[in-house]
Symmetry: D2
Subunit: 305 residues, 4 copies
């Protein structure tokens, strides 16, 4: 027996999918006939339910992946491949407080809200009223509206949160808003950006280099799918080749007062930080003992090709 408010994923005999909230009277009209919500709730996850024409539908508990795929959208939404990676890089998990802009259709907002749990919060900013409303609708549908504060605002004036643990911008000119970030996040917070073109990545890196940002990273994530046939295993013929470049940086406090204290230290600092840049390719992580990083900087020779 499923409680009211739970989400169900229904799959037709032909593989068609319906993602719905359990609610009295929320029956589903399909090409195979009508499905009664009370039948669905009574059967429960992993069971079958029949339409009034006798066609059997599977009832599944949707994953967050299903939720992301299921949001009603009017824009291109982010892919799970990028979302999964940025969750880890930005450290977004139970209890995290995260800033997002723009909300777009709310695909990422739903994922963020899912992961911050009941103890975290998402602060999402969207300038365009129609998208603001769409996100409200999608969050309600996913039952995650309690975890999100939505702002129908341009971020030109700054972000509507402080001391956030992380921040993610999916806007056309993120470099215009960097100066607002230090006021909105905790010192050392991870920031992420999604950009479709190499020109934008260059422009953003140029702005980030001016600080107070460190540990810049640029990555692309590619997913290659295979036809799941045991005796004829092979990749799909075609794949998504590009959605965007992910850029990451840590927002570091400028340390102004401290450095002003001594000119001598200041000088040392400068040589240190240039040193750091050189070795940034080879960070080391220690947990009691040190571990060597992957040596990315191999000398190349064409022999391997």
């Amino acid at each position: 027996m499923l409680d009211s408010g739970k989400l169900v994923l229904l799959i037709s005999p032909k593989g068609k999918r319906y993602l719905r909230v359990v609610k009295e009277g929320n029956d589903i009209h399909t090409h195979d006939g009508k499905l009664l919500m009370e039948d669905i709730a009574a059967a429960g996850y992993g069971k079958m339910v029949k339409t009034h024409l006798g066609r059997k539908y599977k009832i599944l508990k949707p994953t967050v992946h299903d939720l992301i795929k299921g949001v009603k959208r009017q824009t291109q939404i982010m892919y799970p491949k990028e979302i999964g990676y940025l969750l880890l890089k930005l450290g977004i998990g139970p209890g995290a407080r995260v800033i997002e802009s723009g909300s777009g259709s709310g695909g990422l907002t739903v994922a963020l809200a899912y992961y911050v749990g009941d103890t975290g919060k998402v602060y999402t900013h969207e300038r365009r009223p129609e998208f603001y409303k769409l996100v409200t609708r999608n969050l309600k549908w996913a039952g995650l509206e309690e975890r999100v504060e939505q702002f129908n605002l341009d971020i030109e004036e700054g972000f509507q949160a402080t001391e956030a643990d992380a921040l993610f911008l999916d806007v056309r000119t993120p470099w215009d808003y960097l100066h607002h970030i230090p006021k909105a996040v905790i010192p050392g917070a991870m920031c992420g950006f999604l950009l479709p073109t190499t020109n934008q990545v260059s422009d953003l890196l140029r702005a980030l280099e001016k600080g107070p940002f460190e540990d810049l990273e640029v990555v692309e994530i590619l997913v290659r799918r295979y036809k799941p046939v045991a005796d004829r295993l092979r990749p799909e013929d075609r794949m998504v080749a590009h959605t965007g470049y992910l850029v990451f940086a840590r927002c570091i406090e400028p340390y102004v007062e401290e450095e002003a204290a001594s000119a001598e230290i200041e000088t040392a600092e400068t040589s240190e930080s240039s040193e750091k840049t050189e070795t940034a390719q080879e960070p080391e992580t220690g947990s009691g003992d040190e571990q060597a990083d992957s040596a990315e900087e191999d000398t190349e020779s064409p022999n391997g090709m």
Copy 2:
């Protein structure tokens, strides 16, 4: 001021990283001199702290990504690129109950424990005592031991949990344990597998096809990193080309009783399911209205190459 038990990531002027727990007396001996834990706790995240030789270290709040990188390891551990993707696909978030085997060095265990939050639970199985102990140590170090039940057992006899929301196997011959899965998870639960060779993927698919598994998927995740230089933006010269293939499937209850009820329906069922297989490439997700999936099955022509 940081409370005892909090994790700190310390970064040296040269980029060397130390991930430690805030605890009285837990001072750090570096090549740049000694760092006092009480200084670190007093300064807090995003600040600087000096060694007794006057070298300045940054204090950061580690992300889950830093945690995964920081586990002490004696085996190859999973990469964040795979972990991020499987979290979404398996629907592992706050409150989830997840089965894992083997634990290995505990890299994935730490990530799973982080994401299930205080209300979820990870059930991890590891046959080899030395790894079992290593995982215990890594979980303590990360402060996540409360969220994990560890079993120093072979999974030949089955899993030590029932009604789990998801399951992940990183073992050499996962096909040997598939029959234990239906007893361990909720109906319709997502299951994931990591395998290094194509031969193993074929063997696993062959076993999964016998049921009760559906929605088989095989993917590879590739991360391509760029040198973050605004005026000379270009990919790194070399990259990780392979860690493993991720295989996903839903564990579906066999629906035995229901189907036994009527031979007629049984027949219909058969034709339906063959139909389903055909269209499994083109699932649809509905949230009020239907959305078209990416048409993966384009006809190819060499002109584009």
Copy 3:
């Protein structure tokens, strides 16, 4: 003025392409009106020619890439990305004598014939009469029929050439024909294979390992195309993810007599060749002095991800 027999590539105002042979009366009927071949021949490469409706078409000299794209096809043909790589790996250039099977639609046959020049020869085998005829037609159209000997035969009985410099098989079960190869090629000849599935690659490797083949290689070639827009440079949204795996091997003479001469040497031989296998990852090429190969075998760590 273009001589009869030359190939011309005509490009319409809308980018539509026509690849034709210069020949009296070989006029072209387009949606933009009729193009007279005598006008085309008179204008020459790089010029414009008008249809009877006044639409201007560009006249270009086709490259071998245009030729490959232009063959009339009834099968999937090989992509330029694979053809370019195999030409180099197999050493197919002016004067080479090459064996091919099956001919398919003749896309690769055209490329091979182009590259072996007037002094080389292509021996192509095709079982199915309709494809045999299609290849004949495509070779005539490209003006390359003099360089090719076509055989409408199954290769079950062997290849119709001896002492060939190289051999390429694009057939479903290449392992069935390996025993014919030593009789058909010079000792040490490079052999290439194209296979769509990992299962076939495994089967072929298993057969090749039995000899007399060495230097086994398996590669995939991926081409990623970018939208050529200066201010918005980015990869195409989608790409071809798979055509097939290329397998390469050298066919080595069994050295039977020599080895039979001395049991002692035989033993030495065995230990040598096992040694060789170990170091096969790190071959060195010398041209006066030795050059180190790219070290492919880096230890991995997840930190780079």
Copy 4:
């Protein structure tokens, strides 16, 4: 029996490779002892030859791939994966006349010379005297010097050839030399460029767009190698992720006189060419009948991810 001047590739029991010219007295000193050239010549391709210490070396006929790998180098040289693709795109085969700059170490020069055969010619330009000499040496070593005209010149003043069929530039600022190209090549000739950074690609596209260039293309070529083990087939752990971006364009004559003839046509021309741009994504190639190109422009949806 191998004639003087032939190239031989010798492979040691441990897989070490020596690429040498057959010439009296050109004996080889290896770690396994001395190999006499007269023994090598007498044995011939595909046979074994022994050092004075009794170690057996294989004698093979080198492919062009072996030649490229074997050039003595002082710079990064191009990879076979890029060379194979550009040969096809630029239409470089027997009889072609090709312009190259800079020569670098001569890796590409050797490949081009190999493919143009006895009836073609390579015109290669190199500013730095030490590289000019190195290329001379490498061409002699490969026996291909007759097919190449070398110029120890900067291309600032233009190229030392006219009516070339194709041109390839591997220089830091190719946009500085575009205006010399129309005088150096036949109308409609294919031009290729190799550039390591996205910024350079943008700069080059900006310059090419000003004309007289058309059919701009930007691609990356990736080669993914597999461990050739039948029962444990899997990709290598690491791969070369980037060598450079290949840019291609056709150099088209400006058609000045013709267009000046009529203002009316001029207008038509304008609308035509804008039309052309739109449909440039979907060229068609006809050889009697038309063939559809790969539809690269699919609408994306996140469901496939």
